[in-house]
Amino acid sequence: MKAADFAYEKPVDLASALDLLNDEDRDIQLLAGGQSLMPMMNFRLAQPELLIDLNGVDELNFIEEEGEVITIGAMARYSQLQASPIISQHVPLFTLALPHIAHAAVRNRGTIGGSVALADPAAEMPALLIALGATITVISKSAEREISARDFFIGIYETALGNGELVKSVTVPKAKKDNVYGFYELTRRHGDYAMAGVAIAAGSIDPVSDLKIVLFSVSDKPRRLKDAEAVLDGKDLDNADAHASVKRALTKFEFQGDLNADAKTKQHLAGVVIKRTLEGMV
């Protein structure tokens, strides 16, 4: 299990990284935390010609509070997010979810930008960003643009990133007083990819407003359960119909099975995680 031959560059600033990335003739991969890419390269599932190591680009590693938003540099590691007072004060959904992302050793290396750019349908972070209504800032040598999380994730390992672009940062709104969040996933062992998981954000809970229910690890990408969101809007969650309406919405959702749970099991477990999460939010 040795990676195929590749060229390696380790730029020390963003401009140099973008210069290197601005090369349409070469198959390039960016190395962030390496927790997915390195195994994929060793399995030879990824065989880039050039590996650009971003671990020397300090300007991509930051967590900043600015007005009503928090902006997180692509190279901020999960362990930094867990330790950040800014995150614990303003992004409670992250605080709920981070302990469930793999194990401490992975969180010490894994970065938010790496997870976003990889777009693994089983990963937690893309779902959290959709639930929070986050914006992803991407940059190339020639331009910088913002993409909403909802439009960024396209499919299995597929994103809106274009040629020559990399994820620069992620911007999430600060939680407001009435906002309520929930996170729950079912894994066979702690730290595994979930059989089913959900991130839920609500503008308020009693009654429900601005609800976002984002299922992950059940389909080709994290997806909102909009039918259920619409039914629950304006209601009180103790309402006996709430769970029935979620179940109805799930019948229309397209589930994709994996080795641990087939599509039918995922549908059932999605219902369980939503029910338990909503119960915890009341």
């Binding site: 299990m1 040795k2 990676a3 195929a4 031959d5 195994p39 399995f43 030879r44 079912l186 066979r188 062992r189 702690h190 730290g191 595994d192 990819y193 059989m195 080795l259 641990n260 749970a261 087939d262 039918k264 099991t265 549908q267 059932h268 477990l269 369980v272």
Partner: protein, 792 residues
């Protein structure tokens, strides 16, 4: 059996004490010497192109692009080894009728499982060798694969080996008493179940690894081996590579876990040895995790149909099982792939006094990786089937699951006995173990908690197993069947001129603490402090001949050899001391490195001084005294085929019925492994075994697609048990020493793995009972538990 029983009561005895492992410091400092740490001059590295198909004809192999790659030293396909390697057949004559075609290190003409090595590349680095593998163009013609053991014997199934008329490898029937009459009795309740045990594998921290050197000037081969049986490897390499046995040296230094995985002959490792001989330079092969999953032996893979008849009194009237197992395309060499099925037949119901027992075992070939002996061979299947049926039957007749065991377990005061399958049992304590377990775990309290929990909608269950474990095997295990596998072991104990003891033993250390217990026995029996004992294991050039460490035999057989040799050396030393001190040897003893007066324990001479007289100033001794400060003894079990142990275990689980996830709340094991040499090491063996049992019960499964592709060949997808999910595992002991040895130690290495799955399955079914459902399929995954309930 007679012996100097006082050795266990001596003031400086280490037997029975939780001594720390002398080598632990070295290993945690990262100074272990594993095979992959070896760097030899002129060494080259091997990688293998493996079959991507479960079954395919090999039409053509084009090596030309790979050969051009700089750094490639040699490329071998199967045909290239034909003149260098003799074919080998994985059968044993005492498993009458077992058949398997000859094997070669690499596939020739046809590949028969996904992962079978087809082409070997030797290059200046492993990375270059892998690059070259990617450039080899192998043209395959896929054939229909035989994957499902259930259909492998059907008339329209493809046949894997042209020389055979079907895919049957072996069949055995045990029929004892009158089973049909017993099932027909009108006063019995009959319970019938089908059990499924998935394939899993032993995931060693250190993968399989070999570095092989060949010295053409001496026609000698040195095999650096990560494994458990150096002398067995020496014998089979001699035969297959046509070298004199004495010219093969097998060295196993530190081994990072083995569990029965590294005790077989693998084609890729044999190819490594053959390549070293052909190239006349050292070749290294270290399996990566991915190829370990597709080529390390798998285990289990059984479908057992079982039925039990019990009278209203709880008495087992009859037991019948039908075991079907798939072993891959060949029977593994040299231990064969027949032993696990054979064990299932021999051991199912073995703790219980059953007169009427019938068992049928069928082994079929299939296009999957080879199946062979892994920790607790056959035991988890045998115990889960018997105790699964027994607990089901207990509920049918409304009897407590402990009570039904009390009625059927062999009585403690009635040994020796012979089981229905013909196993001779002696020195066991089933009833005592069960009673100790029941009070140890507070069974009554747990039952009360269960009722209370159910009122809250929480589904907890308690499950048991009463088990036996095959340990300390005699030659009846392998030697009788023609395999070059020794059932006896030897130890040499030598006193040096400084008064220190050097022990070399033919048993091996794979991380379980073998070297520690060797030192404990030698130090205690002979009479020096532990820190004055140096232990050598794992080298055919420097240790006595013996079988190694497997089948829970190291402590019981190898330990007894150390005891006998230490005792012999002590007598020899005291004889010399008697001459020097002009005293009778009977009036002397050895303690803490000193020869002492046996009555008042005062020092007479230190061993260092004695050594110096013998080795340097022999002139001070009378000329007719010829001191031998070295002694060798060997030991084998002679009176019975196996020294069985017994245990009673219980699991307490909570099933989340909405998700199918199971939390193991607690686990208890009461084990009787005879004399406990080192309680801490024995406890850890049992705990580690229970953890592997939890793995088999809930997590581990080699998942194959219908066309024979292993779907989860990585640590992300193959789930091994992890610390976060493990319960507290409580251990207690009963010590009934075996009469077959002075030491009295039986094996303890496999009990946890053998017993835990049964207790866990029974506990899950106990939890599910109010829902009128049950599960007899391992691993018990969330999805399977949901399916059992009809939820999904």
């Amino acid at each position: 059996m007679t012996g100097p029983l006082n050795i266990f009561d001596k003031p400086n005895s280490y037997i029975g004490r939780s001594v720390s492992r002398p080598e632990a410091q070295r290993l945690i400092e990262g100074r272990g010497q594993y095979v992959d740490d070896l760097q030899l001059p002129r060494m080259v590295h091997a990688a293998f192109a493996r079959s991507p198909y479960a079954h395919a004809k090999i039409i053509n192999i084009n090596k030309s692009e790979a050969e051009k790659l700089p750094g490639v030293v040699a490329i071998f396909d199967g045909a290239d080894f034909v003149d260098h390697v003799s074919p080998y057949v994985g059968t044993l004559t005492h498993l009458q009728g077992l058949r398997s075609p000859p094997q070669m290190p690499l596939a020739i003409d046809t590949a028969r499982w996904q992962g079978e090595p087809v082409v070997m590349v030797v290059a200046q680095s492993r990375a270059i060798a892998e690059d070259a593998c990617a450039l080899i163009d192998i043209e395959f013609e896929p054939l229909e694969a035989v994957c499902d053991a259930e259909t492998a014997l059907e008339l329209d199934s493809p046949v894997i080996h042209d020389e055979y008329e079907n895919n049957r490898a072996w069949e055995r029937i045990v029929d004892s008493g009158n089973v049909d009459d017993a099932f027909a009795r009108d006063d019995v309740t009959v319970v019938e179940r089908t059990f499924n045990f998935a394939r899993h594998t032993g995931v060693t921290l250190e993968p399989r690894a070999s570095v092989v050197e060949f010295n053409p000037s001496e026609n000698a081969l040195t095999y650096h081996y990560s494994g458990q049986a150096p002398h067995m490897m020496q014998a089979i390499l001699s035969k297959i590579l046509n070298l004199h046995e004495e010219n093969i040296r097998v060295i196993a230094k530190d081994v990072g876990g083995s569990f029965g995985i590294k005790i077989h002959l693998y084609g890729d490792e044999l190819a490594t040895a053959a390549a070293a001989k052909i190239l006349k330079r050292p070749v290294k092969f270290v399996a990566d995790r991915n190829e370990s999953f597709v080529s390390d032996i798998h285990a289990r893979d059984h479908r057992v149909k079982g039925r039990i008849a019990v009278a209203q009194s709880g008495e087992i009237a009859a037991l019948e099982i039908d075991d079907l197992t798939g072993i891959g395309p060949y029977s593994m060499y040299p231990r064969s792939s027949g032993i696990e099925c054979n064990q299932v037949l021999n051991l199912t119901g073995a703790p219980y006094a059953i007169e009427n027992y019938r068992a049928k075992g069928t082994i079929v070939f299939q296009n999957k990786n080879m199946m062979c002996q892994y920790r607790a061979v056959g035991h988890p299947i045998a115990m889960a089937v018997a105790d699964g049926l027994l607990e089901s039957a207990a509920h049918e007749i409304n009897m407590d699951v402990v009570e039904i065991r009390r009625k059927n377990l062999f009585r403690d005061n009635n040994y020796p006995v012979t089981t229905a399958a013909g196993m001779k049992l002696d020195d066991l304590s089933h009833q005592k173990a069960l009673e100790k377990l029941v009070s140890f775990m507070d069974y009554d309290g747990l039952r009360k908690d269960q009722v209370g929990a159910r009122e809250q909608g929480v589904y907890r269950g308690i499950g048991f197993v009463s088990m036996v474990e095959v340990t300390n095997p005699s030659p009846m295990f392998y030697g009788i069947g023609g395999a070059p596998i020794s059932a006896q072991d030897g130890a040499t104990v030598r006193l040096d001129a400084a008064g220190a003891l050097h022990v070399s033993s033919s048993i091996t250390e794979q991380g379980q603490g073998t070297n520690t217990i060797i030192a404990q026995i030698a130090a205690g029996v002979f009479g020096v402090d532990m820190d004055r004992v140096k232990v050598t294991t794992g080298d055919t050039a420097t240790t006595p001949y013996g079988g190694g460490t497997w089948a829970s035999r190291g402590a019981g057989i190898g330990g007894e050899a150390v005891l006998l040799a230490s005792n012999a050396l002590k007598e020899q030393v005291l004889e010399v001391a008697g001459v020097i001190l002009q005293s009778s040897a009977e009036n002397l003893d050895i303690e803490h490195g000193l020869v002492v007066d046996s009555e008042n324990r005062t020092e007479r001479i230190s061993l260092g001084d004695l050594g110096k007289i013998v080795y340097y100033r022999g002139n001070e001794l009378p000329s007719d005294v010829t001191p031998e400060l070295i002694a060798t003894r060997h030991f084998r079990v002679t009176d019975i085929p196996f020294v069985f142990t017994n245990g009673a275990m219980a699991a307490h689980v909570e099933v989340d019925i909405e998700t199918g996830l199971v939390k193991v709340l607690d686990f208890w094991a009461v084990e009787d492994c005879g004399r406990v040499i080192n309680p801490k090491l024995v406890d850890e063996q049992i705990r580690g075994g229970v953890v592997q049992g939890i793995g088999g019960a809930f997590y581990e499964e080699c998942i194959y697609s219908d066309d024979g592709q292993l779907q989860n060949a990585s640590m992300a997808d193959y789930l091994v048990p992890m610390a976060a999910e493990m319960p507290d595992i409580h251990i207690a002991h009963i010590e009934t020493p075996t009469k077959t040895s002075v030491l009295g130690a039986k094996g303890a290495g496999e009990a946890g793995t053998g017993g835990a799955p049964a207790a866990l399955m029974n506990a899950v079914n106990d939890a599910l009972r109010p829902l009128n459902t049950s599960i007899y399929q391992m691993p018990m995954t969330p999805q399977r538990i949901l399916k059992a309930q009809g939820t999904v």
